[in-house]
């Protein structure tokens, strides 16, 4: 899906603890990591990579609030302005009876909004196929990838052998 190809130099580790040490080492050597790929969410990875905290939950809150206002506002408008009807002798604006639907739509909007945001910001979705560096990354290999034109190849080779990468490859994606 990327517009222009780039050459990637990557090393595969066999254990997540080796991976974490290697990233610390890369930070110490000021090597610019392109990305890190793992078969499962590795704890502590975002800390050593200095990844910012995800703001998805903020999106969730905003969508949820939108759902609350949509549901409550709509029911209020229908039963007080558009077509007021008395049900069971209750007031037109019978707030307790609006709570269940308001709650459900809050959850619905938050969930759909967050999931759509997630796939959008990650660039994932039906029909998307991203380049894959190595097919064992989704199995049992932990990968650190560098762009070759942004780093010195010899320094990267030295780095990988020092940090105990099992394999080192170059791939154009």
């Amino acid at each position: 899906m990327s517009q222009h190809t780039k050459e990637v130099f990557y090393g595969l580790y066999n254990d997540e603890e080796d991976l974490l040490h290697a990233i610390e080492e890369a930070n110490a050597q000021h090597l610019e990591i392109m990305d890190v790929y793992t078969p499962f969410p590795v704890h502590g990875l975002d800390k050593v990579m200095h990844l910012e905290e995800s703001r998805l939950h903020i999106a969730g809150f905003v969508f949820g609030a939108l759902g609350t206002m949509t549901a409550f506002g709509f029911m209020t408008w229908v039963f007080t302005r558009d077509w007021p009807i008395i049900f069971g002798g209750k007031p037109y604006w019978s707030v307790p009876a609006f709570i269940p639907i308001t709650f459900e739509l809050t959850v619905l909007f938050a969930a759909i909004g967050m999931v759509v945001s997630f796939y959008t910001v990650c660039g994932l979705g039906p029909g998307v196929s991203n380049p894959i560096l190595d097919e064992r990354i989704t199995d049992d290999k932990f990968c650190i990838a560098f762009e070759t034109d942004k780093a010195d190849l010899d320094a990267l080779k030295a780095f990988f052998s020092k940090t105990g990468a099992g394999e080192v490859h170059t791939k154009t994606i």
């Binding site: 899906m1 603890e17 990305d35 890190v36 790929y37 793992t38 078969p39 499962f40 969410p41 590795v42 990875l45 975002d46 990579m49 990844l51 905290e53 995800s54 998805l56 939950h57 969730g60 949820g64 709509f74 029911m75 229908v78 039963f79 558009d82 077509w83 049900f87 209750k90 019978s94 009876a97 269940p100 639907i101 709650f103 459900e104 739509l105 959850v107 619905l108 938050a110 969930a111 759909i112 967050m114 999931v115 997630f118 990650c122 660039g123 994932l124 979705g125 039906p126 998307v128 196929s129 991203n130 380049p131 894959i132 097919e135 064992r136 990354i137 989704t138 199995d139 049992d140 990968c143």
Partner: protein
């Protein structure tokens, strides 16, 4: 560096698995040709489903008159089965959401299949209210859409409409939660597949690469969705109970209904998870991932919720007596001693008495007893809904309109048919997706794998010996 593990914890992954072993074991059922057992089960399920669809078509063609509903029994098999299926669905969300918030690691072994069960159960449940309207082609009237009749809006004060919103939301959120969890595992299957399967899983996996940032967002999303699904699952059965509790029918008009329905839902759902898991782990050879420890944990939940349900039954009886209200007292006397006494005693025996054997550890850890109990509980919970609905409606305020209800073959056909739909979907799921969450099991390997726990235990023991000798 070891992750902190209590040496006393029981392992959740047995057999000294490596990450690669986990991938192999969990993905291979989707890659091999189906076993004979699977084929037989599938043929039976599809046949049952076909009969159900035929009964459904019969209902739509000839109308609700083909059911045995009458005045005063306006709800019979349809709503009994609806509540039963919705209840079964609840365990999936409980396992995937509430246990995630409580950081219960054993959920990883069963959450994927349990969530699938939720979705399929809600599909089955939804068919009953959709058809019991009599003219299902007008079901879109239930949604508040701008129409040419005013527009005339739906009654937002009605619990039945709340139910529509609750079930639709529940289905959507469960589906999104389940699928987002599946995406990384579809990627694992994709990267092992060739040919057509590779193309198929390439589409299903949404282009997942396993990038660190994606994993971080994925975890954040899972946590918030779990946080949303937790009150949602409690609200859904609460609202289902409002269908009854907000009416003025003696025996229905009680404030205990919401917590009692939620507990019952979790109870029956866990029983269905046990039924499915015991068969699945055996047929797909997953005993090292869905261990006896998982089964025991679920049996503890069954014991707890079954006891809560039992307390609710007794509370209802006490309150009926204590209320001093003649009609309420009659409703409960009629449940236990009236025409449907057999369903009341079936309910009491299956739901309240039989789960008490799980106080004994030996029985909690027995596959056969667990399987038998899971069937009992599902029968008992079906009886519970039948007791609440049919018994109450069969004895109205006016003795002149008292009647009896037995289902026609059409109603039984639809019910059996939903079991067919459920198992057909579940069997397809076991062929298409890893039934145990691959990435999540790998994530807990170092804290719950037997080799790590054992190593940790010996390390601790060694350090204690050293401390002793230093004294």
């Amino acid at each position: 560096m070891h992750a902190p593990v209590a040496p006393v914890r029981e392992p959740l992954i047995e057999g000294h698995k490596s990450y690669h072993n986990i991938t192999e074991d969990l993905c291979s059922p989707t890659e091999k040709a189906p076993s004979l057992a699977w084929i037989i089960a599938f043929v039976v399920s599809v046949a049952t489903m076909t009969f159900g669809l035929f009964s459904l078509a019969w209902t739509i063609w000839f109308g609700i008159g083909s059911w045995n509903l009458n005045r005063t029994i306006g709800w019979g098999y349809d709503i009994t089965n609806f509540v039963w299926w919705i209840g079964i669905g609840h365990a999936g969300t409980l396992i995937s959401a509430i246990l995630l918030l409580f950081r219960q690691k054993w959920r990883t072994g069963v959450n994927r299949a349990a969530e699938a069960m939720t979705i399929f159960a809600v599909v089955c449940a939804g068919m009953f209210p959709a058809t019991h309207t009599g003219r299902p082609w007008f079901d879109f009237f239930m949604f508040p859409y701008p129409n040419t009749r005013g527009p005339l809006w739906v009654n937002f004060n009605s619990p039945l409409l709340w139910d529509l919103f609750a079930i639709s939301t529940y289905f959507t959120v469960s589906l999104l939660f389940w699928y987002t969890g599946l995406v990384p595992d579809f990627a694992t299957v994709r990267d092992r597949a060739v040919g057509f399967r590779k193309k198929m899983y390439n589409v299903l996996s949404f282009g997942w690469t396993g990038s660190a940032k994606h994993w971080q967002r994925w975890e954040s999303l899972s946590l918030v969705l779990a946080g949303l699904a937790t009150p949602l699952v409690l609200s859904v059965h609460t609202i289902v109970s409002f269908d009854f509790a907000t009416s003025v029918i003696p025996g229905w008009h009680t404030t205990i209904f919401p917590p009692y329905f939620v507990a019952g839902a979790i109870f029956s759902g866990f029983a269905m998870v046990q039924t499915l898991m015991i068969i699945t782990r055996k047929i797909l050879n997953l005993q090292q991932y869905i261990t006896i420890n998982h089964i025991e944990s679920m049996n503890k939940v069954i014991l707890l919720t079954g006891t809560i349900v039992g307390v609710a039954y007794l509370t209802e009886l006490f309150i009926a007596w204590y209320s001093g209200y003649l009609y309420e007292q009659f409703a409960f006397f009629n449940r236990a001693m009236g025409i449907y006494w057999w369903s009341y005693f079936g309910m009491m025996a299956c739901n309240v008495l039989s789960p008490q054997i799980f106080w004994v550890k030996k029985y909690r850890r027995s596959i056969y007893i667990t399987f038998l109990m899971s069937i009992f509980v599902n029968i008992g919970m079906w009886f519970e809904r039948f007791v609440i609905i049919a018994t109450t409606l069969a004895r109205d305020y006016l003795p002149s309109s008292w009647s009896y209800y037995t289902p026609t073959w059409v109603e039984i056909g639809i019910y059996v048919g939903t079991l067919g739909i459920f198992f057909t979907l579940y069997l397809l799921f076991t062929r298409l997706a890893p039934v145990v969450a691959v990435a999540e099991v790998k994530h807990i390997l170092k804290t719950a794998g037997d080799q790590y726990i054992k190593q940790r235990a010996t390390d601790n023991h060694a350090s204690e010996v050293v401390k002793e000798s230093n004294h």
